[in-house]
Symmetry: C2
């Protein structure tokens, strides 16, 4: 491939100067993986300068999902984000969202590329996308994530590419890029296996739109996971036992089914637990390829994985880059519209395992808002998977803050996954299989299997005292635990 | 076709005698259309007799969706249903569900056939299915609905067929039956147009399982819709204007997109309004083919429709049967797994219009439970469509019970469709387009556009007094309107 000599080289500061107040920006990045790095930092510096001069400067920010510190932390700390979608995990940004200083739209991640394509977000002024290489005709070879970048590159009016020399150009062997056209003339998506490829190794971009190239040499800065703790190990044990029982009962086929796993320490522990178990070697059709999966793939336990990002700490990423002949044929990185596609998830029969903040005794789950108001991160891809999976498994520790909080409550304070879609709830206490149960039977099982023993009497009493109905609730008391927490710092008196 | 002489003729009473206490039954029926009629009535009579003798008799009942009076009303009034899924609309049954006398599992309708196939419901003892004809080799030609009948016929241990001479055998020209295999080895569903056919005109059944044929000659007993009222007409007007604006803005393509419409008077009025409008002639990819659609099809406004049931009052059904050469090529009846399939709905870009019980100011909607506890009907197919549609439009009158109830509330008392999936809310007051808005912007727009003016001050005040956050709520007050209603019969003092 020829060097991208056709395009101007820009310093990050020169790139940032091109972006005006009020612009809508589509950044690459799905987790810190593949996030634009130098340009948003320079943009944050520019915003601070302008603010110091008393001038307004805020932008509207779209990404794949969460980002590295370079985008959400830096731009939020500079008070430079007026509007943000579809997901974030930055403390600085979260605080501004919860203070209503930044408008945040919490979205199913599979919806993002199609909403760009449909024109629902309006005009996108700039795509700012990290790549490992750019061809003079506008073929963009993305780095460690795909996310929504192909759609931003297609639809943005102007484009800035960050070419990051930290990553191997061989990443293109993993990429499978395809933008679905708008309906009604759409063919079925021909993915019939997690490793099926249906597109090209590059994202296409009109070269006339490319304002220039910013060169970088920076790691994604992915933090390694915590060591597996006792609670996570118990949760993993319940999930493994359940999956083995389902296999034995013939409700999971002997070749097993593709797995999806959410991001985080508990999910990472579950994957490690599955690797050590008697579950057959498996594929994944998931969102994020995380640290534990490198080991499982080397051990032959994970046969292959579809994802939209390679979110690996430096040592794990190095293992992959040092052995691309092994890893490249086993990992496919897709746009998030396809990694999280409802139709494909349902077709493949994905078993989805996701972490939640709280669950209620009737099987609804809250993934996003503490006490119904304070955003944590966002719904992310969990809704795409929970709603369309073969088996939807939601996991959480039964208590938090040394027992001052029960994650099992009478009514969740925000519903991200409702009783119609949730099938299996798991805490370190046990596993509640809700399939085929009405609300009261669900409640009994969730209290006995998932709630911490110190909260079971309260939860049983709640049902008894609630209004008789298909679901039993007392609308005067359903958030009593949350209100106690807000007032006293604990859900129940000691 | 040869007459089904191979199979024994049974009276309904003889058929009912074959069914024992505790059996799990899969009945045909999606709405009253195509519901088994004589056998369940005889079963209800048998239950009453046995109960009078002090003997236990209850069955577990699966259907496609709601049924005619013959199943849910009759069996509920006989106290003969211990467990029921996935949907119902019977007063007698609803009362027993809300008194906890019958366990009810409220399910997304597209999930039902696959859960049978996956074995999640356990053994199904009997399929009791209405047909227009049966071939000696077990080809079953279904009547006015498909629903989940093909799956019950495949998986039940024993089968009773009701051959209903009321319906034309030409219905087979509309049927397109296909059971999806269990994963992982599944190909894409090749439906790329509402009228695409991918299966056979019959459901297959092992003839050895067929215990006999019950002959009937009975209409489905579908009630005609109420005349369009002022409120429904205003809602329809807002929806039509919105769709025309989206067309003009290029966010709906000039050939339009397939429509889905829920069941009921408001939805029927919206369809009639669309027919009279400047919206281009369109296709439907929906669940139920209702009365208004017969007229629209004759007028050339509705070009074709995919559904799982032909739910027509007798005069409209007669018009269809009298002109099958016109109607048969324009209507496809599919299993509910396909009529409501998430992947197909998303692929085709369906615009989904559904009625809800209440909506909240942050864009969550309740389709199922009054005051969080009393089941109305169930979620039905609305979740299949809302979650996967190109545009999800939810409609309701802004007030009920002469203004004593506001359908726009601070927090819905049950979440069937959450803020991540709901895009457009409509009442007779106006239309709130929520795309791209954060929670507080949503709240302002919903209050101003959708809430009844007499509730707007309360709702504005609620937000002002609530806890600051990404979402604003006061957990002590979020159900104040509902509690007032339960105590005083009205949400706000006069």
């Amino acid at each position: 491939m020829s060097a991208p000599t056709r395009f101007a080289k820009l310093t990050p500061e020169e790139a940032a100067e091109l972006i005006g107040h009020g612009a809508t920006l589509g950044f690459s990045g799905f987790t810190p993986a593949g996030a634009a790095k130098a340009t948003p930092l320079a943009l944050a510096a520019r915003a601070k300068r302008l603010h110091a001069e008393g001038k307004p400067f805020k932008v509207r920010v779209l990404t794949g999902a969460s980002t590295g510190a370079s985008i959400d932390d830096a731009l939020a700390e500079a008070d430079a984000i007026s509007w943000r979608a579809p997901y974030q995990s930055s403390k600085a940004l979260r605080n501004r969202i919860n203070r209503q200083e930044t408008e945040f739209v919490d979205m199913h991640l599979s919806h993002v590329p199609q909403m760009v394509e449909f024109g629902f977000f309006g005009k996108i002024d700039f795509a700012i996308v990290e790549a490992v290489d750019v061809a003079p005709d506008g073929r963009i070879y993305l780095s460690t994530s795909v996310g929504a970048s192909p759609s931003y590159l297609k639809h943005a009016e102007k484009v800035i590419i960050e070419v990051n020399r930290h990553h191997t150009k061989q990443l293109m062997e993993m990429h499978d890029i395809k933008i679905l056209p708008a309906p009604p003339h759409r063919n079925p998506i021909p993915i019939d296996h997690p490793l099926a490829k249906i597109g090209t190794p590059f994202a296409a971009c009109d070269p006339e739109k490319i304002l220039g190239i910013v060169e970088t040499d920076e790691s994604d800065g992915v933090a390694p996971f915590d060591p597996v703790d006792d609670v996570s190990e118990k949760i993993a044990g319940h999930v493994v036992k359940f999956l083995l029982d389902e296999l034995a009962a013939g409700r999971i086929p002997p070749e097993f089914l593709p797995l999806q796993s959410g991001v985080g320490n508990v999910a990472n522990a579950v994957m490690a637990g599955l690797g050590k178990s008697d579950v057959p070697s498996f594929y994944m059709y998931s969102e994020v390829f995380q640290d534990a999966l490198v080991d499982l793939m080397e051990q032959g336990r994970l046969l292959g994985a579809s994802a939209t990002s390679l979110t690996l700490s430096e040592p794990q990423l190095k293992r992959v880059y040092d052995n691309m002949r092994f890893f490249a044929p086993r990992i496919v990185l897709r746009p998030q519209e396809l990694s999280n596609n409802p139709g494909v998830i349902r077709r493949l029969g994905v078993i989805a395992i996701n972490t939640v903040l709280e669950m209620d005794i009737f099987g609804n789950a809250n993934s996003t808002h503490v006490a119904g108001t304070q955003l944590m991160n966002g719904v992310g891809g969990s809704g795409d998977f929970v709603r369309n999976s073969y088996l939807s498994i939601l996991v959480a520790p039964s208590i938090a803050k040394a027992g001052r909080i029960s994650t099992v409550v009478p009514m969740v304070s925000h519903v991200d996954h409702n009783e119609h879609s949730v099938q299996i709830l798991v805490t370190e206490q046990g596993l509640a299989d809700l399939r085929g149960l009405g609300p009261i039977e669900r409640a009994k099982r969730i209290i006995e299997k998932c709630a911490h023993p110190s909260y079971r009497p309260y939860l049983h009493d709640y049902i008894q005292s609630a209004t008789l109905g298909h679901v039993r609730h007392d609308l005067a008391r359903c958030y009593e635990l949350h209100q106690n927490l807000l007032k006293t710092g604990q859900m129940l008196p000691k």
